[in-house]
């Protein structure tokens, strides 16, 4: 294979006056912004729906189950297209036009990615709560807690600790899934990857750099969650919580 290696192209000026390594950095910035915002949305929504599904209210359970089933069974890219292309057409023309022309694409992207990831987190939160012995809720109620207070002070603090390893995976996945948002016009890392290939044809160098960049953000998240896991351990409650070490 007679490949023409040229690592220095990263320091060449592109046609917008920036250098290619700056394109990579901007892309990385958008990737992190999209991922962290989506993750925040997902944690919030996932917790709400996860809790809803463990209550005794039939309606709340049905709504929670429906959300998880819909959003876990449709491919992420299709979901993004539904938000991006289909939803504005279903709206009244004025709102549709506003969504198409004034609403930043970032908002569409993080809502799409956030709801997708939220469905997966809802499943984990539910599993975490259901793994607790029923007696914990009863004990809480016997102490005079309301139903909500048993969640707030008894069940959720334990449930989150139990599912922290699964949440770690989800937080790492969100970075990798964020690559799909290039399809709705986000100028993130994968977008810059495709642009740089097209402009410079230095496929291997840029592939190596982008691979490392994704690895680093995902791995940093892994280490961060491992640290949280260690710090939030309740001695004697969960056996073997070594913080992913």
């Amino acid at each position: 294979m007679n490949y023409h290696w040229d690592w220095l192209f990263f320091f060449q000026e592109a046609d917008d006056g920036l250098m290619y390594y700056q394109w990579v950095l901007f892309g990385l910035g958008w990737t992190v912004a999209v991922s962290l915002t989506s993750l925040a949305i997902a944690l919030l929504i996932g917790s709400v729906f996860g809790v809803m599904r463990t209550t005794s209210n039939r309606w709340l359970i049905t709504i929670g189950d429906a959300y998880v089933d819909v959003f876990r069974n449709i491919p992420l890219i299709v979901q993004l297209f539904l938000w991006f292309f289909v939803l504005p057409e279903l709206m009244p023309p004025k709102i549709g036009l506003w969504m198409k022309q004034d609403l930043p694409y970032f908002v569409t992207a993080v809502i799409g990615l956030g709801l997708f990831t939220g469905a997966r987190i809802a499943e984990q939160v539910k599993a975490g709560i259901n793994s607790l012995p029923r007696g914990q809720r009863f004990a809480g109620l016997a102490l005079g807690f309301t139903e909500w207070q048993t969640y707030r002070y008894v069940r959720l603090p334990m449930a989150y600790r139990i599912v922290l390893p699964a949440l770690t995976s989800e937080a790492m996945n969100v970075y990798k899934n964020s690559a799909v948002t290039y399809a709705v016009g986000i100028l993130e890392l994968y977008f810059q990857y495709k642009q740089i290939i097209e402009k410079t044809s230095q496929v291997l160098e840029i592939t190596i750099v982008i691979t490392l960049a994704y690895f680093l953000v995902a791995f940093a998240t892994n280490r961060l969650f491992a640290w949280i896991e260690t710090r939030s351990q309740v001695p004697g409650m969960i056996v073997g919580g070594q913080g992913g070490k």
Partner: protein, 298 residues
């Protein structure tokens, strides 16, 4: 020890003689002769250059031209039964697949650019595309100046953004750049009103418009922001093979056969849906046929 050294020398000399005996053949031609097969890289949806018809067979203007090149290779190597393989490629993998020897020539819609010439070689240009604007007729956009403040879409992984700024009239205006995942997405952005214009190769715009629900709603307007030559992609620094490909293509251009193929694919109904692109030959392409060149675009 000494004996084995002599044997080794003998072996090397024999190998050397064997090598000189067929020294006329190098690079791709040698590879084709040795393997008894030539692999043509085709695209799957570069209408009308190289795409799959209803039977999933690669067809198109570039495929027809490459069939002539393959005929010339058969003749040159005196191998009438040479096996011809097809390998689908994408705009992302075509260059690596050329470099690692998976394909021997690529017949699609690849712009011959100076940057790509660092990696691969190109034949003389068989098509010249101009980057222009695809708009909705009811938008009233006729020229670049009309784009001021408007959202303009291009496709991710193409080089069309930035061209507006380089145009004389475009210098004083500001546009909002949007990016579609592929050409169909970018066109949908114009169709649905997200973007005011789609800046892209005019032939691709013509193909998208011809296949739209109401082709009459759209128009290709504005000056050419840049002319880009399409060439058959070859391996880099393979002079004998390139000479053969160029000779064949130039022959077709001079004999008028290339123009006949052009008429077949650009001015007549083509498979799979019998759509007519109605895309007459541009002055730039006529010039490229009259004086063939393999110069790349910056």
């Amino acid at each position: 020890m000494r004996k084995s050294l002599i044997t080794l020398t003998l072996c090397l000399t024999t190998a050397g003689i064997a090598a000189t005996a067929r020294a006329e053949l190098t690079g791709t031609l040698q590879k084709i002769k040795d393997s008894g097969a030539i692999t043509v890289g085709n695209r799957e949806s570069s209408i009308p250059f190289s795409y799959l018809d209803a039977q999933q067979k690669p067809v198109g203007y570039a495929m027809d031209l490459c069939a002539k090149v393959v005929d010339a290779v058969k003749k040159e190597l005196k191998m009438p039964n040479l096996q011809v393989k097809h390998q689908a490629v994408t705009s992302q993998n075509r260059i690596p697949l050329m470099q690692n020897g998976t394909i021997d020539l690529e017949c699609g819609s690849t712009t011959n650019s100076v940057a790509r010439q660092q990696q691969v070689g190109f034949s003389v240009a068989y098509f010249i595309t101009s980057v222009r604007m695809g708009v909705r007729k009811d938008s009233g956009i006729k020229d670049i100046g009309d784009l001021n403040g408007k959202p303009v879409v291009t496709t991710t992984g193409t080089t069309s953004d930035g061209l507006i700024k380089q145009n004389e009239k475009g210098k004083s205006i500001n546009v909002q750049n949007l990016y579609g995942k592929d050409h169909a997405d970018s066109f949908l952005m114009v169709e649905s009103g997200r973007a005011a214009a789609f800046v892209m190769d005019d032939i691709l715009l013509a193909g998208l418009i011809a296949n739209a629900k109401n082709p009459g709603d759209f128009a290709i307007v504005g000056p050419s922001l840049r002319d880009e030559p399409y060439g058959v992609m070859l391996r880099k620094d393979d002079a004998p093979f390139k000479a053969l490909v160029d000779k064949t293509l130039i022959g077709l251009m001079k004999s008028g056969e290339a123009e006949k193929l052009y008429t077949k694919w650009f001015l007549n109904p083509i498979p799979p849906r019998s759509v007519n692109l109605n895309f007459p030959m541009s002055p730039a392409l006529k010039a490229a046929f009259a004086t063939p060149t393999d110069q790349g675009v910056e």
